[in-house]
Symmetry: C2
Subunit: 288 residues, 2 copies
């Protein structure tokens, strides 16, 4: 969504000025001319920030509220879940004993990356904003450690938390987390690049020094893999993901937390708050 | 070799001060206690900058001068050839119609990357220092275009030479070539990182702006793969490489050029000259 609010070249076309930002939504059918959908059905639809819409039935996926709370398809069973699962699997290539670091550790994607990695026998170190989120990451999500990004000396604390170096850095944030991670990357480490929230609002490059040449040298001397991706690349994996994640949810092996705002007027503050890390869990806006 | 002349952390341990720099060499056997090697045999050996040595037969590979000039195993049939072949194959993943860019286009690795890519149906754009090297790249090596890095406006000339963008950038140089390439990279482009010559002598980061955040954003928004490697990672491919490259050489489909200096005293100037781009072809030093 944030990428579409800019005309910088990206995988997502910019939203025209004056149009509502596009988004996935869970909606309730009010009226249907299609025999496959009836009033009252709940569907997943790719639409926009608005309270009513006209959609083709072919673009609606009917959800089963008995299987999971319907909003799960916006989070743990939806795009954020698939992003975490597929980016970790296909690019992170986790092996038991690896050390994984992820920022935004209590967010929609980061919380799942860390939990899936723990299920696969990795050491998981998160970074989050504030003591409460860090406690949630270690006590509820089961991370091995979580570092408060608001405290000083992140680099030293990261080194202490990763005594065997870092094998996978799941990049969501950029900024200080990336800076702390770089010197600790092991040979053949993998960096799935899924987001760089810290720089989304930058309009010019920060004042130097220019760390680009050193990054390229690091990629060379440590045989790193740095790989940007969007979840649509792995759409073919959707059934496998839903099967595995549903089983984890059913056996309480994956925890997910929601941060719900109410009303269309809360869309903008909720969205900005999410980018600034003020949400605690998957940011959702409920309109009914 | 250059990496070993620094105690910065790398895949190669530093050469101790006072020791000769390690290198691959082709040597002639003077005396042998092993039945598999006789005086006069020519061998490939991993040794150091010196004119005589004592080596175990197990560490010597006997070469067949009837198959190719023996120094070929230091270049086109050796480590540089394997580097070009394996980096392109496994990380570059070339597809017919792709556009590939490589700097150091007339050097030991770059000249082979470009020629192999041409054989596979790619559009190949090189960068080299000076008009003579650029002519060699297009007229003798068969590159589609070669840009002189000593002329101004490399970025605009690169854009003109790559009308369909860039799908593979084989990174040998860093510096201005990388800067010119970045804005032109297509979605899902691959960047095998094999060298960053332009920054090998840097002891501090260049004055800003800091382009690291923008690079990470580019990797994200264009789903780029940036992957450092050393040829030893692909050692298992050596037989397949030698078979394919020998066939290309036998049918004159690959051209290779040597830049030979003479005498042990020329090692240092030849090595520095190679890093500064003064060689024209694979830099070799001949001692006999």
């Amino acid at each position: 969504m944030r990428g579409r609010m800019s005309d910088a070249r990206s995988y997502a076309a910019p939203t025209p000025l004056g149009s509502p930002p596009p988004t996935e939504a869970v909606a309730r059918v009010l009226l249907s001319n299609n025999p496959g959908l009836a009033a009252g059905d709940q569907v997943l639809v790719y639409d926009a920030w608005r309270d009513h819409t006209v959609a083709k039935a072919a673009n609606c996926r009917k959800l089963d509220p008995a299987q999971a709370p319907v909003q799960s398809w916006l989070g743990v069973l939806g795009m954020p879940g698939r992003t975490a699962w597929a980016g970790l699997k296909h690019i992170g290539k986790p092996k038991p004993g690896d050390t994984l670091v992820v920022g935004a550790a209590t967010g929609a994607v980061g919380s799942l990356v860390g939990q899936i990695a723990r299920l696969q026998g990795l050491r998981v170190v998160g970074v989050a904003g504030g003591a409460e989120k860090c406690r949630h990451a270690t006590e509820t999500l089961g991370f091995d450690a979580c570092l408060d990004r608001h405290q000083p000396d992140l680099g030293q604390r990261m080194a202490d938390a990763c005594p065997r170096g870092i094998d996978i850095y799941f990049e969501l944030t950029g900024g200080d987390v990336l800076t702390a991670v770089l010197p600790l990357l092991n040979p053949f480490a993998r960096i799935p690049v899924c987001g760089t929230i810290a720089s989304y609002n930058a309009t010019t490059a920060p004042e130097g020094p220019d760390r680009l040449p050193a990054l390229m040298r690091l990629i060379l001397t440590r045989s790193l893999t740095v790989r940007g991706f969007i979840v649509s690349e792995f759409d073919a994996d959707r059934p496998a993901f839903e099967t595995e994640m549903s089983a984890w949810l059913a056996s309480d092996r994956i925890v997910h937390k929601e941060d719900i705002s109410h009303g269309l007027d809360s869309m903008v503050p909720a969205f900005i708050g999410m980018l600034e890390g003020r949400n605690f869990g998957k940011a959702l806006v409920r309109l009914d």
